[in-house]
């Protein structure tokens, strides 16, 4: 059986978990098996999981699962999987998933593959490597395989499955080794890792005071904002916006790069974006080679034009 750990926020199933469920449902179909979701915590709404591909849902609650901890969650996952004959455990490559998957793999004595973007067959996967500069086909052996799926690499499908819920109550208290002190969520903004559209800018913008038009364009398009490394190094923008080889890796549907040269380390973090638009004064900027659309021109002229047109369309 294929198990998928699903995450939720304020009760709602995360988009990247819906993607992981699609992966799980496809894998179950390919291996003649069924797909079960594992939902952890009291306040998860499990009613939709059948539509996302779950034949069955294990809703796990109990002592030690009131808040996230790598140890508590990994124990909950490993217990459900081993008690119900799981062969595959699919986890999203979210921060939560990245903390849970390696620990669950050890508990289950499983093979582990992370950064997976596609399934090749039941025993092998395609994963990113060299920071998105390449892909590898990796074969996995053993009875249990744990796989983390990169967000935004799998298209969500809709299903019409039973999704019947079995409640599991447990006590994982002894494996909880960390305590959450406080959580600081970026409010009112789309988190970069979950954004489908991203507007990003680099040193070509000259200074932090010029980001108003970038934020406004992002706002009108419903996009998140990002930046190049020097821009966050100089504190023009927060570090959480830095994308690239040593920053966040993203693969949105649209990446608009303004005043960014397109250095190899920058491209490593964004080159898997589905559509890339580049705005740069220098026609020789390397970024144009990685772009779908390009405008050779001054950001201070071009961005206001884009903004005006986007506003016009939004109003109509």
């Amino acid at each position: 059986m294929v198990f998928v750990l699903v995450e939720s926020e304020e009760g709602k199933i995360k988009k990247y978990s819906q993607e992981a469920l699609t992966y799980g449902a496809d894998l179950a179909a390919a291996t003649g098996s069924s797909c079960a979701a594992i939902a952890i915590g009291e306040d998860t709404d499990t009613s939709d999981l059948g539509n996302y591909g779950a034949d069955k849902v294990y809703h796990v609650t109990g002592s030690g699962l009131e808040a996230f901890s790598p140890g508590g969650y990994a124990t909950a996952v490993a217990d459900v999987v081993s008690n119900n004959g799981g062969n595959y455990v699919i986890v999203s490559g979210s921060y939560t998933g990245k903390s849970v998957a390696p620990k669950a793999a050890v508990k289950l004595n499983a093979a582990l593959a992370t950064g997976v973007v596609a399934m090749t067959d039941g025993n092998s996967i395609r994963k990113t490597c060299f920071s998105n500069k390449a892909f590898s086909k990796v074969s996995m052996s053993g009875d249990v395989k744990v796989i983390t799926v990169v967000p935004n690499s799998y298209e969500i499908k809709s299903y019409d499955k039973a999704g019947s819920v079995e409640s599991v109550s447990t006590d994982v208290g002894s494996s909880v080794k960390t305590k959450s002190i406080s959580i600081d969520k970026v409010k009112g903004k789309i988190p970069l890792t979950e954004a489908e559209l991203v507007v990003s800018a680099g040193r070509g913008l000259k200074g932090p005071e010029n980001w108003g038009m970038i934020e406004e364009l992002a706002d009108v398009l419903g996009a998140a904002t990002a930046c190049s490394k020097p821009v966050s190094d100089m504190d023009w923008r927060p570090h959480s916006e830095h994308v690239g080889q040593t920053g966040i890796t993203i693969k949105p549907n649209l990446y608009i790069a303004v005043g960014i040269s397109g250095a190899i380390q920058h491209l490593a973090g964004v080159s898997s974006s589905k559509v890339i638009c580049v705005i740069n004064t220098d026609p020789e900027a390397p970024f144009f080679k990685a772009a779908d659309y390009g405008i050779v021109g001054d950001a201070f002229e071009i961005v206001p034009k884009l903004l005006a047109r986007a506003k016009e369309l939004k109003a109509s």
Partner: protein, 245 residues
Amino acid sequence: MNILVGISAVPDTTTKISFVENNTKFNTEGVQFIINPYDELALTKALEITEAQGGEVTIITVGDASVEPVMRKALAIGAQKAIRVNTVAKDGMHAAQCIKDAIAGQSYDLILTGRESIDYNGGQVAGILSEMLDMSLINVVTSIEVNDGKVTAVRDIDGGRETVEASLPCVLSAQKELCEPRIPNMRGIMQARMKPLEVVEPSVDYSATNYDSYELPAEKGSVKLIEANNAEELIDLLRTEKKLI
């Protein structure tokens, strides 16, 4: 305070990636290997902690003899001791198992690694080690403070940050912003030559995964250029051609 830092040797970030032997092996010809950038942060943080509180920093690398120059650089930055496990790690599970066996009988208050290695991008070793060694785990951290046998760290979460507390011993993985990485100075480089670098043989030859083949991403078609004085067209194309907005 004894701290172990996992150091992985990776291709320099400017490396143009290519493969040989019918795309089954990474082409290392002409490639310069460096300390994985996140591991540089882990190492610097470990030095900051031991300088303030006393203690020793040991680095460990699973790799063949070719990684020793990278390890010497870590010693030059300031680590006191080094252990090399003499095998090429096949995956994160294998690397972690080798590290666990190599440090059996030693005790560390903290184990620091990078958030991920920039070659195989596993992001696995910290989590696996914490489980194998029954230590607490705080993954992808931008700050670490150690006080009275407790560690408080700030970690990245989806859409924000979380402050987490754990008891020692603890495994943490370094994220950018944790500190400014140090670069070795002349004195450090001289001293590094004299520092102990112990080589141990691996006790396992385990691997549940195999990298069968590699490929480069599909080349982009040529860029569609839009005239600057007609820039608005970009928005229209994104809407009509790509149906994105």
